[in-house]
């Protein structure tokens, strides 16, 4: 029996879908069987980010309505044997599915996969309720912006009432130089306000946008800092203890010399 993890945020555009795609791919890379479920009915994106858009035949709503069997709707990623995704419908809206049906579907998937990652839509309405219904654990994604932190706080409050319990936190799109200048919230500050455990921090990285447009999760690029961050998060989900990334790491001999003399 696998585990279902919902990835949510409250606010839109903070990187839920990117996070789902990358953590899912990273988990698959470490040999686990993974199924990604897009619950953003009507505004699906996960298929695009994963580069599986043109392989969709049936979708989540078809499965729920009994038009297709679950196996027919699942898309197997050609790059990895053990990664599949269940796309959302694009022509319906959130009310096409009920939390009960979602729960049943996720329980079905949990039998066959080690990890079921549920990509939650923005907002706190039906779509959120659907996404949370079948999950055992939750991850809240936020960015170091006041509005995103505020919405994350609201979502955490709602999650605590569900059976998923206290969620874990990912702070996405950190820009180290802005944090240093005091223009962006610090990680500690955000964790302090939200009062939940951090499971990872992800630096702002242009290669995320580039790879999303290509339909290739960034974790496949070994040199990217965001890729490393997502791989670390996947390892933490697997139970390893991995220290947080040092976002201020400067490389180069001059930095080392300066550090030696105590100049930063």
């Amino acid at each position: 029996m696998g585990e279902a993890i919902v990835i949510t945020s409250g606010k839109g555009g903070v990187g839920k879908t990117t996070t789902t795609a990358n953590i899912g791919t990273a988990l698959a890379l470490s040999g686990k069987t993974v199924c990604l479920v897009d619950t953003d009915i009507g505004l699906r994106n996960l298929d695009v980010v994963m580069g599986l858009e043109n392989r969709i035949i049936f979708d989540l709503v078809d499965v729920v309505e009994g038009v297709a069997r679950l196996e027919q709707a699942l898309i197997r990623d050609k790059r990895f044997e053990n990664l599949t995704m269940l796309p959302a419908a694009q022509t319906k809206d959130k009310s096409a599915v009920k939390p009960r049906q979602m729960e049943k579907l996720v329980n079905e998937l949990k039998k066959d996969y080690d990890y079921v990652l549920i990509d939650c839509p923005a907002g706190i309405e039906q779509g959120f309720k659907n996404a949370v219904a079948g999950a055992n654990r939750a991850i809240v994604v936020t960015t170091p912006e006041t509005s995103a932190v505020r919405d994350a706080d609201r979502i955490i409050g709602l999650l605590e009432r569900e059976k998923v319990g206290t969620p874990k936190l990912i702070i996405n799109r950190i820009r180290p130089h802005m944090v240093k200048n005091g223009q962006m919230h610090e990680v500690d500050e955000i964790v302090n306000v939200l009062a939940i455990d951090l499971i990872g921090i992800v630096p702002d990285d242009e290669s995320i946008i580039a790879s999303a447009n290509l339909g290739e999760p960034v974790v496949l690029k070994h040199q990217s800092p965001a890729a490393l961050a997502y791989r670390n998060i996947a390892r933490r989900i697997l139970g390893e203890s991995v220290p947080l990334m040092n976002l201020n790491s400067h490389s180069g001999i001059m930095h080392k010399v300066k550090k030696w003399f105590g100049i930063r």
């Binding site: 505020r150 919405d151 306000v193």
Partner: protein, 225 residues
């Protein structure tokens, strides 16, 4: 109607008159005796300047309607002013309300954006109130953490209630009917624990060590050395 025994006994004190009401007779007997005394028999002591009356009911419980009836009889004389009703007994409902009002709710956790928590009595919160979160209490609110959201103390009009927090940085405070938008009305951010209170209908903020001066008879016990 043969009143062999006095149902209403009137005694004088330095604060006015006390009407001792017999608590073993029927209410009807009590009312007729009171009528008789107020309207006929005790003219000489019940006339003249304004007299304050305390009605002592002993172990009798009066319904609101019965209390009104007694008020009306006494009020027939313009110079008699009822100060209070004193009774040795209260209703279960009232007892529960009083117990809740004197109760301190110890609560742990974070009050998050969009959450509204309401309590009877005082609240001791071990945690933060985040922006957008709201705690309401009929008594006072003490936050062992950061108050960055909203708090409403004295929900039913208790203007002696206070709001204290380790870090008092609220977006909105309310005590009884008085609402305050801190950012506009007072600037603080001292590194000590602070509390908000009402003085002459206005909200003020002070360091917690000043509470003794501001609410001298507020707590049941003081620190003794």
């Amino acid at each position: 109607m043969s009143a062999t025994k006095q149902k209403v006994t009137i005694k004088g004190t330095k604060d006015g008159l006390v009407f001792f009401m017999d608590d073993s007779c029927s209410f009807e007997d009590l009312v007729s005796d009171l009528k008789n005394k107020v309207e006929y028999s005790h003219q000489q002591i019940l006339t003249g300047p304004v007299i304050h009356i305390t009605v002592n009911l002993g172990y009798r419980y009066l319904s609101d309607k019965q209390e009104q009836q007694i008020r009306q009889i006494i009020r027939k004389r313009g110079n008699l002013v009822i100060k209070e009703f004193v009774s040795e007994v209260i209703s279960r409902e009232q007892a529960l309300m009083e117990r809740l009002a004197s109760h301190t709710n110890v609560v742990t956790g974070t009050v998050r954006s969009g959450q509204v928590n309401e309590y009877q009595g005082d609240v001791l919160l071990l945690g933060d109130i985040n922006p957008g979160g709201l705690v309401k209490a009929s008594g006072s609110i003490f936050v062992m953490g950061r108050l960055r959201g909203m708090a409403h103390a004295g929900l039913y009009g208790d203007d002696q209630a206070i709001i204290a927090a380790s870090h008092l940085e609220p977006t909105r405070l309310q005590i009884a009917e008085v609402m305050s938008l801190p950012a506009e009305q007072w600037v603080q951010h001292e590194m000590t624990m602070e509390f908000a209170y009402l003085i002459d209908g206005k909200m003020q903020v002070d360091s917690i060590h000043r509470i003794k001066q501001i609410r001298p008879d507020w707590t049941q016990s003081d620190i003794r050395g």
